[in-house]
């Protein structure tokens, strides 16, 4: 079901944990939907010097958090803002269609943390250009 890369980032997630006194924190998703991501950023001179996460969610959600934090480290805030959910999914060598919303959540988590930093510094939050709708899918039942 998942690519080797997804399984690698699920089983050996990079950047798990919290940053003490983070410069930006973003929390997206909700427990009712089954995914919550909390992203912590350390920002120096407009560059993300460290990123960590805590995630409640499925394998794809954990792998997406791991990959997204990897992708934004070392980037300027402008560059990090441009890291799309597609970029996260591609770096993971693809996600099943029904799991694409997990990469969307990762993108939104990074955005939320960046805007948290901007607000703390009296800057206007950046606006999401492509708000992503959450997908609904028909369920499958294997017990018959």
């Amino acid at each position: 079901m998942y690519s080797d890369k997804v399984m690698d980032h699920f089983k050996n997630p990079r950047n798990v944990g919290e940053i003490e006194n983070p410069d930006g924190v973003g929390e997206v998703g909700n427990p009712v939907c089954g995914d919550i991501m909390k992203i912590f950023l350390k920002i120096e001179n407009n560059i993300i010097t460290d990123a960590k996460f805590k995630t409640f969610g499925c394998g794809a959600a954990i792998a997406s958090s791991s990959m997204a934090t990897e992708l934004v480290k070392g980037k300027t805030l402008e560059e990090a803002w441009e890291v799309s959910n597609k970029a996260v999914a591609e770096a993971l060598e693809g996600l099943p269609p029904i799991k694409m919303h997990c990469s969307v959540l990762a993108e939104e988590g990074i955005h939320s943390a960046i805007n948290d930093y901007r607000k703390k510094h009296g800057l206007e939050p950046w606006i999401e250009r492509n708000p992503h709708p959450h997908d609904h899918h028909e369920d499958l039942d294997g017990d018959h």
Binding site: K11, C58, D141
Partner: protein, 399 residues
């Protein structure tokens, strides 16, 4: 590295086919391949085999052989019972009663009938997943033509008060169907004593092959055909018989019902030790379903602060096959309708784990799961933003 140890604890999803069952089936693929509808003598072997299997199934259910119809499995049996009775009794009424925790083979069939002009009542369940016969009594109207309530639930294992529910339906001259897919070999079935007019079963849940099942239809029940075509199954279910499958079903049901008490003792013993171990070793773990009125092999527990699919992936990595009611494995945003119907909060429903034990499990399997599962839960909690290390919390207790 030796061969990876596999601990299969998903017997409610499917079982392996027992060797004796498979051996009984094989000759009907190669030697006795004749079409039972044909006139020549070799076709007679096939026909005899089907008749013998029908007797085996009837005996296990306390039915007459001519009340047993072979189908492709549980889903077809459920579809046939519900649509067949609905369309044949439309003039009498258009109201059907079922429960909120049925398998989708029942629920989606009922949804389909709603679009066809039928009205469906979905009976609620209590926090243990039990349907109350008093609720059924209240729900029946003069338009009610069918009640369909499952014998035992596939997710939480709760065994419903079938005989009582059947009695209520019969007091109002309403047909009573039950999806008994999970109970064969686990609970003694007696269709006459338990007031059952129709019963669905599927061989691959009790160590038989996949793709074969049966519907018991009590004599006199007014029901339309589902599969139209040739005159097989006494003109009620068309299609050349799956002879090997039917033979396998017959053998499997005979083996599964030979010693139900002994099977229960053995499986329940292992299940109780595993469940007790989980609730003792893992804080924030809660049992879903009924404590006693429960399938012998079923465990369904929810763990706070974590999500089910990630649990399954780690367990699979350790060779443990299990299942969850989390949305993330179903592809929808909603977690299990069964857990939600019991009133379990949505976020806790996402953290459910189902382990269903069966004949291939051993005490060593129980030890292994008890060694692995606490580590998996703790690893996932450590990365969960919902988890704040609180003081030790006990799980709910169990008998």
């Amino acid at each position: 590295m030796g061969e990876k140890r596999i601990v299969y604890m998903d017997h409610s999803a499917t079982t392996y086919t027992k060797k004796e069952v498979l051996e009984a089936m094989i000759p009907y693929y190669s030697e006795h391949f004749g079409n039972p509808s044909s006139i020549y003598s070799i076709a007679g072997d096939s026909k005899k085999a089907i008749d013998a299997a029908r007797v085996q199934v009837a005996k296990a259910l306390g039915a007459d052989p001519d009340e047993i119809y072979f189908t492709s499995g549980g889903s077809e049996s459920d579809n046939w019972a519900i649509k067949g009775v609905a369309f044949a009794n439309r003039k009498k009424g258009n109201h059907i009663i079922t429960s909120a925790i049925e398998h989708h083979a029942v629920l989606h069939t009922c949804k389909y009938l709603e679009n066809e002009g039928f009205t469906i009542t979905y009976l609620p369940v209590d926090r243990y997943g039990m349907v109350d016969p008093a609720d059924l009594e209240k729900a029946i109207t003069e338009k009610t033509i069918l009640v369909s309530v499952m014998f035992a639930n596939n997710e939480i294992g709760t065994i419903e008060p079938i005989a009582e529910l059947g009695a209520v339906a019969h007091n109002h001259n309403v047909y009573f169907h039950t999806d008994a897919v999970q109970v064969i070999g686990n609970v003694q079935v007696d269709v006459k004593a338990q007031n059952i007019d129709m019963l669905s079963l599927s061989a691959h849940k009790f160590y038989g092959p996949k793709g074969i099942g049966a519907l018991y239809i009590k004599k006199g029940v007014k029901i339309d055909n589902l599969i139209h075509g040739g005159g097989q199954e006494r003109k009620r279910r068309a299609g050349t018989e799956n002879i090997a499958g039917i033979v396998g079903l017959g053998k499997a049901i005979e083996l599964a019902t030979a010693d139900i008490d002994g099977h229960n003792r053995r499986i329940r013993g292992m299940r109780n030790r595993l469940l007790q171990g989980i609730l003792t070793k893992i804080p924030g773990a809660y049992l879903n379903g009924h404590k006693e009125k429960r399938l012998p092999g079923n465990i369904n527990v929810s763990f706070e602060f974590i999500e089910g699919e990630s649990m399954l992936l780690w367990l699979d990595d350790e060779g443990i096959c299990a299942s969850t009611g989390s949305a993330c494995t179903s592809g929808s945003l909603e977690p299990s309708h069964v857990l939600l119907a019991t009133g379990l909060p949505v976020e806790i429903s996402h953290g459910s784990l189902r382990l269903t034990l069966g004949v291939i499990n051993t005490e060593q399997d129980v030890d292994f799961v008890l060694e692995v599962l606490p580590k998996v839960v703790s690893r996932l909690r450590d990365m969960s933003p919902l988890y704040r290390k609180r003081g030790k919390e006990g799980g709910s207790d169990v008998q």
